[in-house]
Symmetry: C2
Subunit: 468 residues, 2 copies
Amino acid sequence: MKTDMSGDEFRRFGHEVVDWIADYLENNRDLPVMPQVQPGALEDALPAEAPEDGEPMEQILADFRSLVLPAVNHWNHPRFHAYFSVSASAPGILGEMLTAALNTNGMLWQSSPANTELEMVVMRWLRQWLGLPDRFFGMIHDTASLSTMHAIAAARVAAVPGVREGGAPANLVVYTSEHAHSSIEKGALSLGMGRNQVRKIATDDQFRLQPGLLQAAIKADRAAGLHPCCVVSTVGTTAVTSVDPVADIQQIADSEGLWHHVDAAYGGPAALLPEMRWMLDGAERADSLVVNPHKWLFTPIDLSAFYCRRPDVLREAFSLVPSYLRTDQDDRAVNLMDYGVPLGRRFRALKLWFVMRWFGRRKVEQILRSHIEWARELAASIAADDRFEICAPTPLSLVCFRLKGSDEANRRLVEEINRSGFAFLAGNVLGGRFMLRLAIGHVRTTREDVQAVWSRLQALAGSIASAG
Amino acid sequence: MKTDMSGDEFRRFGHEVVDWIADYLENNRDLPVMPQVQPGALEDALPAEAPEDGEPMEQILADFRSLVLPAVNHWNHPRFHAYFSVSASAPGILGEMLTAALNTNGMLWQSSPANTELEMVVMRWLRQWLGLPDRFFGMIHDTASLSTMHAIAAARVAAVPGVREGGAPANLVVYTSEHAHSSIEKGALSLGMGRNQVRKIATDDQFRLQPGLLQAAIKADRAAGLHPCCVVSTVGTTAVTSVDPVADIQQIADSEGLWHHVDAAYGGPAALLPEMRWMLDGAERADSLVVNPHKWLFTPIDLSAFYCRRPDVLREAFSLVPSYLRTDQDDRAVNLMDYGVPLGRRFRALKLWFVMRWFGRRKVEQILRSHIEWARELAASIAADDRFEICAPTPLSLVCFRLKGSDEANRRLVEEINRSGFAFLAGNVLGGRFMLRLAIGHVRTTREDVQAVWSRLQALAGSIASAG
């Protein structure tokens, strides 16, 4: 009985898919970034039931192109400027192809040594790029949400040693800034801590957590009989890419005995640049840190790098084998399942290894530096156009701006640029006012792309103003 | 400045990688399944630092073949019989290639409509294959560990409505069988419930949870002032693929007001077969269920299908937007980030869509049925060889057996077959005795493969006995 495709069939369709991907990477600037579809359109276009008999791959690929693709929002398009701009580079895609074919699960060292060891290698390489000390243990999660949830769970175990057996007390408190990513609150909520146990500390005029207010909040909570256990600082907030004062926060964490987790999911890679290394000053003493190569390091989704200075606490939080029952084993044969929730572990390290080797450090620096430069150029152009205003500093590669005038005009602006298909931006409410966010980070974005988007925005601003 | 590879370069290396994969899928029977490497060998063979300047893809691919591959345990080999036997079929690999190239993130409907809608479509298709009712809301997680953690978190919110704001009380209890997967205990531990709050109910002589003992444990816990909140039944346990009496457990969950989660991660797909549909009898009334297409449905790792009859409770557990603040939106534009921990969501549905369409229901049934038949044939052959004994029934496609005699002889047997490279099996301790597990589930495994492994095991048994 024939079960899977033959090698020849795979070769034929594999080449077809590779050619399609090559064309897509070269030419997707011609596609509308955001799809023009109504909710349910794709669902309705597909059969209500899976087929009884297998269908030819020709038909499946044809349907992919004619039905699925028109409902895709093109994150891998150089003018996708919403959220954070991410990219699947060609070397990363090649890595993913091999990961899929090998289909290994690195839950244990023995279950596939290459998975665990290559993960250790790329986590060490990246740690060096970020200038973090050797004592940071690195491992890969799917998303920063999971990395941060693991950090908060570890903080809880570090604060209350009995959690492992008896469960967590209800009086633990987590601190972060009002501009922190939703994953901190989500992590606490998921862990059963409740939203009331998350304090969102106010920020200064540059949207950075104010250490004095953090200190005061901890004091007030202690006075109320609560148990402060964790603080999360952010290097590159989602709304405006502000950078919290990591060293000052670390000092408070030290004196108060709090776990300090640094959320550098987006901003982290920029610490490769000597001129941006200041962002992580103090992080070398933090307890944990997350940085996402699938954001600003050209690695296909998903790959979140999680570092922890205290892997013993991670084991205490997540290993089902209590430390007193562990048998001696070679300490290089790490079983990564013992350090987190997921048992199954896809071979994610391979694509990052491809990316880091193919680009090399110098090229990555060059590209990141140019993204930051273009963002600052764009901010200057916007500031020079008196119809517009800049809403926040541009420390990294995100520009926050708005039309002077009503929120409605700004909402129209973002809707019209998105509907045009030329670029995709997201809006956001900051300080009660609607603003636009233009994120630069795609590996194939050029200075000309950014300038062309700005020209379109200027033209739309003119037509919105005259429509009144 | 040249940033990424050109389309032509990607085309060239993409074709090379496709040709390599085609050869690998056709010929990997010739590779030793388990690698012969010492811990640290791959780490030591690779540079201590990432390169300063980019390296040619030729070199990266050469190192992949000469350094990484020898440290790979070949999960995608037809004679990988350890853990559960999984497979990345060729159509699934093609789907992964396109997922990597598109690099979309389906956190919101708007962030890529195709991601959310294709996920709804394949989850519906699979629900129909499993005979589950329409009211089950389906979504994709990476692993069953995450799916089950979400189920327990939802159970907690359903039991204690205040969890969302004020945190979880310490008296909640989760029930499962002594043969349940470690992910249930891990989930409870991660959620901060503590291991003391997980009851492992004893099983009968066929390793199935005993409903009477479950009932008694609940009663004792209530008498002690605890709050029973969740029971997890298993359809295909990891050690022996036993099937818990789902309908009886559902009845207890109903009368006691417990959340009932069904862990059908491995066994679920077999419910496609009319003769195996009994396994899920009662599951139509359960609160949640997990089945992993990346186990026994030919889909590359990772893809875990999570069904929930009460999506409102999932939202209550995980959405940062409280229900009273939700704005009206089209109910077909589901934002999947509101139903779980991870914000980022890879386009995993695409590969399952490829797999379900290319195989079709009839072919999947044929393949699963043959796996079960070969497992029963093998069990009969083993039972007929008086040097061996069968350790557990064979309801699905896993055979549990041992040499009559010492644990040491059995450990030698599994070590020798693994060291030979011909097949890879895992051992396990059951009822205090070491046994071997031979799992059948790879899409390209043949009856001849299984028979050849059995012949090797018989020959090794002979040499172990004579060395004895």
